[in-house]
Structure formats: C-alpha cells, structure tokens
Amino acid sequence: MATIADDLTPLHHPKTWIGKYVWSQDHKVIAIQYAVTAVSVGILALVLSFLMRLQLGFPGEFQFIQPDNYLQFVTMHGMIMVVYLLTALLLGGFGNYLIPLMVGARDMVFPFVNMLSYWVYLLSVIVLVASLFVPGGPTGGGWTLYPPQTILEGTPGASWGIIMMMASLAIFIVAFTMGGLNYVTTVLQARTRGMTLMRMPCSVWGIFVASIMGLLAFPALFVAAVMTILDSVAGTSFFVPTIISMGEQTGHEGGSPILFQHLFWFFGHPEVYIVALPAFGIVSDLISVHARKNIFGYRMMVWAIVIIGALSFFVWAHHMYVSGMNPYFGFFFATSTLIIAIPTAIKVYNWLLTLYRGDIHLSVPMLFAIAFLFTFIHGGLSGLFLGNVSVDVPLSDTFFVIGHFHMVMGVSPILVIFGAIYHWYPKITGRMWNNTLARAHFWITFLGAYAIFLPMHYIGMLGVPRRYYALGETMFIPDSVHYANMGITIAAGFVFAAQFLFFTNMIWSLFRGPKADPNPWGAASLEWHTPDTPPAHGNWGDKLPTVYRWAYDYSVPGAPRDFVPQNEPPPAAGPGDVKP
C-alpha cells in the first residue's frame, strides 16, 4: 500500500447501509462503534459503583447486596472502568477517530484489521457481560484477580466467573493488539506531506506512545490469564502452592502467587499510563486551543510523554511493596517511581504556563481541562505518598489508595474525555450541543467527584481497608466515618444523575442541535480543516492536505487571525519557494 495516497480508489466504498455503518472499514465509524460500546459497558460500571456506594453509605439497608455481590460489583466495576471503558474509549475511540484526521491520512493503514479489532473487542465485552449470568456469577476476586483466591471456593465466581473474565481479557488483548498495531503503523507510515513527527498534535503523541505501551504491556496480562485458566481448569501449579481450601488440600504444589502479581503489574502499571497518556495529549490540545496559545514547551511535552512511557515499564513493583516479594526491591522501585514524577510534573507546569498570558476562553471543553488540572495535581501528589515505599506501608490497601487512583486515573481521564467529546462533537456530528446543560453537567460532575474522592483519602489515612463490605465494629473507626460514607454516597448520587444531563444533551443535540461551524473553536490542527463536516469517507476529498507548520500556531505576532491552520501555506512561499 502506498503511504501517501492522494488516490481515493483503494478505499473500499460500501454501498449499503450495513456496509457503511455496521461492517464499516471507515476509521470514523469504527471509532464511534468503539466509543458507543465502551460507554455502554461504562454505564454498567457506573451503576455498579453506585450500588457499592449504597452499601457503604447505608450498610445493611439494601438486602440484595450481600458480601459476595459487593465483591463482584467491586471487581466488575474496576475492570470495566479501566480496561473496557477507558482503554477502549481512549485508544479505540479517540485513537481511531483522531489519528488519521490529525496526521492527514485517508484512513488507518489496515482498515480491514481495524474493523476486525472492533468486532473482537465487542466479543470480549459480550463474554464479559455473559459472565454476569453464569452459575456462581462473575468473579469477585478484585480487579487485580490475584490467585489463589480468585480460583478457590470462598470467592464468588471462582469456577465460571474467573474463567469468563480471563477469557474476555485474552480476547480483548487480541483486539487491542490489532488496533494498536494499526495506530502505531498509521502514525509512522501514513502522515501526509509535511507532517513531521514534531508537527503532530500532542493528542497523537499521547495516543501513539500509549498504543506502543499497550502492545508491550498487554502480553503480560495475556500470559497471566492463560496461566490462571490452566491452574483453575487443568490443575497446573503456576501460581498456586500447596494450600487448603474448604478443609482439603487442592492438589496444587509449589506455585508462586507473587509470580502472578509481577505479571499482573508489569501490565497493570503501564496500563495506568495507557489511560493517562492519551488524556495528557488530548488535554494539551484542549488547553492550547481554548487559551489561544501554543502548548508551552511543546518539545518538552513530547519528550515527557516518551520518557514517561519508557520509565513506566520499570516501576511495576511499587504495587507490591507489602506483597512479600524481596523487600530490597523496594529501594529500586521507590526511586524509579518518584523519578517518573519529574516528567509528569513538567507536564503540569507546561499546562499551567500555557494558561499563563493566554487569552482564555472559558468554553465547556476548557472548563473540563481546568478541572482535569486540578484533580490531576491532587491525584498525582497523593501518588507520591504511595510510591514512597515506607509511606505506602500504612496506606496500601486502604481507602487512601481508592481515593488516589480514582482521582488520578478515574476522574482525571474522564474529565478529559468529557472535554474532548464537547470539543470534537461539532466535528463528529456537525451539530452543537446545549451550553446550559453542558455547564450544569460540568459543575455537578467536577464538584461532586471531588466531594466523593477527597474524603476517601482521609478515611484511608485512618486505616479503613478497601474492598470491605462493611466496617463492622472496630476500636479505631469513629462514628463520624459513617456520616462521611453517607455523604460520599449522596455526592455519588448527584454525579450519577448529572450524567443523564450529558447523555440527554448528546442525543438531543444529535438531532436538534444547531448546525455547527466547521471550525467553531478556531483550531489550527488538521482535523478541523477537512473539506466536509462531518468528514466524509476518505477524509480529504481528492487530494491529501499538505502541512506547512506545527499544530500550535496560535496568536502568532503579525498573523491576520489568532490561529494559522496547519495546512495554510506561508504567505510569501510560492510553489517553488520551499526551504529544504
């Protein structure tokens, strides 16, 4: 396949509705399929979180939530949120939509594989959801799925649920690998004329590096999943040593539970950044566009993404400080973990310095970007506690951890996703959403989320462990904690309800929203300069665009407008007047 193809003919142009919208090979349709599927399971995860909150806020009031249900909710909520919602939405959804448009390609390099990736992903979701209905229900082993517990009686879903979960994950990994190979190759191969690496928007950089990380990290989970299935079904002893379950020896011998943890976190830590880096990239673009200012220190931002991506393969055991692994590993992993904080901090400074001396339009996407900065600063800083080995000892496996990672990889990326949806909605649909509803959605979500997760840090400081169905009688938990839990649940109720504002707004505007300007925010990057809005199949009409500058020419002194599109030739340069 030629890489810069002005020619439209190789694209497979379907004639029927089904060919266009179901078995579509158009990256934009696939992106929407990914996004809709991810958001749909995401709603399930949201409902589960609210059920957990009901139990924690009003223990015992809801008879249908028993301890085994609670653990199943925790597990499914966590796994869906991290893998099936965030990873799928940020890479399968935004990655698919944005990469070809932002680098000036007609489509992904392998459109058929791209389509396949979505359908395999859908299969993994179906297997996951089916696990809700198998005998014994879904697994309740926690999203970390640590053996031996996950495959023993005494944990819900120990026979069927866990196997369905592992199978679903393995299928997801196949889907992701197909998608990820496509994203990376498209960025490397299909950039249009003039689109050098350093002219790509930060969004593409974030998604690009995250895809590479996913390709290298998911195999660890794949191996762990296959080995767990074997331990459970075939009686191998990869992870399970000699143990007694229900008064009987299980027949396993010599396996290592810690081996699983190494494999899991070799995937699990990079996974955090697989979610974070696309969000970092996208939020950089939101801030820059709406502050009418180039992203400050673009090169540093790109390098930081690359460095964070590379370093995050060397920190995984910070999740295992008190796991019983060789305690001397703690020195190494604490140091490497805190070193990652430096490029991360630089990103924060540069976002703030982009705002500084900008011309800040407080449109809804910008509000979400600002909220992201706040929650990300909070969550990033609380991560330093957990990375700093000995400080982690009292805090690990408490609600402090829950507060921390929800802030940093739950709320923060979700805020970016909302901002991004509001930002690109007019391009994707050709219509504009309702501003009042959007602002109401913003304020309730932002303040509500902070009200949910800030107190959790403090409850965790006190020592309340995570994954507890009920606190029961203790000597150290004061009654006030129960009021805190009630308050958190009420806040969660508001946040939950506010999402209906969002969905209503999105669906209503799709049909009734006012027609949107092709470039309502005055953005410079390529995706806003397609000949059609929404972009047609093939994106660019007859001829691919030519790129003359980076994606951030905002408020350039002397320019007629406060932005210069990436594909606008410099005024003086005639066709023959091109600098080498």
């Binding site: 000699t242 180039n294 220190g297 600063i377």
Partner: protein, 287 residues
C-alpha cells in the same frame, strides 16, 4: 471566571477539610515514628505544591480570561525556565524520597534481639504461634495440616514440641520489645494490619513473609486483614493485646504447646508423626 473562583475555593476548602476533619492517622502505638515522619515530610512538600500550583492556575485563569482586545503572548518554549523547574522538582522529590528510603531501610532490617511470633491466616481467621523456651519455631508446612495439627507443624521436628499455639483471634505482645512477625497463610493471600502499628505485610501461601516492630503503647488494638481474601474478608478480625512483660509471661504460660497437642492426640491413638507425609527438606519456617 467562576471556575477560577471555584478552584481557589477548592484549595481553601481542602486545607480547611484537612485541618478540621476528624479523620487522620490513629495515634501511633509502635516504633514506626519514622514512617509517620516520612509521611509528614511527603505531606508538607505535596501540600505546598498543591497550593502553589492551583492558586497559580486560578490566578492565571482570572487574570488572562478572554476579554475584548486581550491577545495571548507568543512563546513556544523557555528552556531556561523549564530546566529550573525540573531542578526544583527534583529537589522536592529527593527531599521526600530520602526519609522514605531511610524508614524503609529500618523496616527491612530486623534487630537481632527481636522475639519471634508467627501469625497464620486462613479464610477468615487468625491463629498465632510462639516459639517457646527454645526460641525457635518448629518447621511447618501446609502439607502437614490435619484436624489434630492445624498449624501444620512437622511432628518430627524437635524444635516444634515447645511451640505455643493460639487458636483464638487474640494475639498478646509484650510492651517495648521488638518482635519479628513471621507470617504464613494456609490458603490465600491475607495481610496482617494493625493501623496503630503502621506496619503491614501480606501473608502468602507457600512462602514465609515477615516484618518487625516494637509495640510502644499498652492496650488492645484491632487486627485487620488488608488483602482481599474472599467473602469473609471484612470479617477477618483479630485483637492484639499489648501488655507488660510480666502479664504477658503469665498469659503465655497458660497456653497449650504443640507437645501437649501431640500427647493428647496420642492418648486418642493418633500418631501424628506417622500420619505425616514423607519428609522433605523444608526448614522454611525455621528461624
């Protein structure tokens, strides 16, 4: 506009919440003041960063919000500024990492005079074992476990005979003496966690893990399980009673030894040593 005020108010609100909320670390009851110190150092450095960064953001949003005629400044990068920021971040990070690593070094270095106490976890209860007068725990393994030998002590190991077994969820520790907690699990992962001690460690089936501490306050405290271990996880509770050495000794003298258990079983005609599986070089729990 509102969002700038909102961010500033959230900063102020977070500080007030921190100062006035009733939830903070429990009063410490062990020697791990160094962990608390590391935590406080981390907290102060992070608090400064949190306040400065967010107030800067709030100010910048307010000051540079869009108004007619406002034009953004054009500045692609400022290498000098970025270098300076990197440097200062590095200093802050090093300042919090140092006390953290120092405390960790202490945490992984068990003093030679530490007494040995073993905690065993199983779904969903605790049991404890003291080494007895010889100061050495008998070798133990899951393979040896049966109804008469719930700890799985190797019946042929002479060091095991005087081991003192506690099958209730109540652990006693002498005040002011370092203990090395040796941890074993019979089934799944558990985690021995006493919030007031600050210390914590997973119990991992198949291997023996440990941590050490010195209880410094007399009284009783909750033992929690802090690693998900199944539906009863939240009910896997125990109590640790920290008391004067004399009280501790008196209590310990009243407890059963493994030798007594063996004798009792033998009186019923069960010879544990014969029932045991073929000897394997184990020595895992022997310290």
């Amino acid at each position: 506009m509102y969002v700038a005020i909102g961010i500033a108010l959230l900063v102020v609100g977070s500080i007030l919440f921190h100062l006035f909320s009733p939830w903070w670390m429990t009063p410490i009851a062990s020697n791990w003041g160094s962990i608390d110190t590391a935590l406080e150092v981390t907290l102060y450095i992070c608090a400064i960063a949190f306040i400065v960064l967010n107030l800067f953001m709030a100010w910048a949003i307010w000051r540079y919000r869009h108004r007619p005629g406002n034009v953004a400044h054009y500045e692609p990068e400022n290498a000098k500024l970025e270098k300076r920021l990197t440097l200062w971040t590095g200093v802050g990070i090093a300042a919090m990492l140092a006390p953290g690593l120092i405390a960790w070094h202490e945490y992984v270095t068990v003093p030679d005079d530490a007494a040995i106490v073993e905690a065993t976890g199983q779904q969903w209860q605790w049991a404890f074992r003291y080494p007895g007068p010889d100061g050495v725990l008998g070798a133990a393994e899951v393979a040896h476990i049966n109804a008469d030998n719930p700890f799985g002590i190797d019946p042929r190991d002479p060091y095991g005979r005087d081991d003192i077994l506690i099958e209730t969820n109540e652990l006693h520790l002498p005040l002011g003496r370092p203990v090395k907690m040796v941890l074993r699990s019979k089934d799944v992962l558990h985690d021995f966690y006493v919030p007031q001690f600050r210390a914590k460690m997973d119990l991992v089936p198949g291997i023996v893990t440990y941590f050490w501490m010195t209880p410094t306050v007399a009284g009783s405290f909750d033992i929690l399980c802090a690693e998900l271990c199944g539906v009863g996880h939240h009910q896997m509770r125990g109590t640790v009673v920290v008391e004067q050495q004399a009280d501790f000794d008196r209590w310990l003298a009243e407890q059963m030894t493994f030798g007594q258990v063996l004798a009792e079983a033998e009186a019923r005609g069960v010879r544990l040593a014969d029932a045991a599986p073929a000897a394997r070089p184990s020595g895992r729990a022997a310290h």
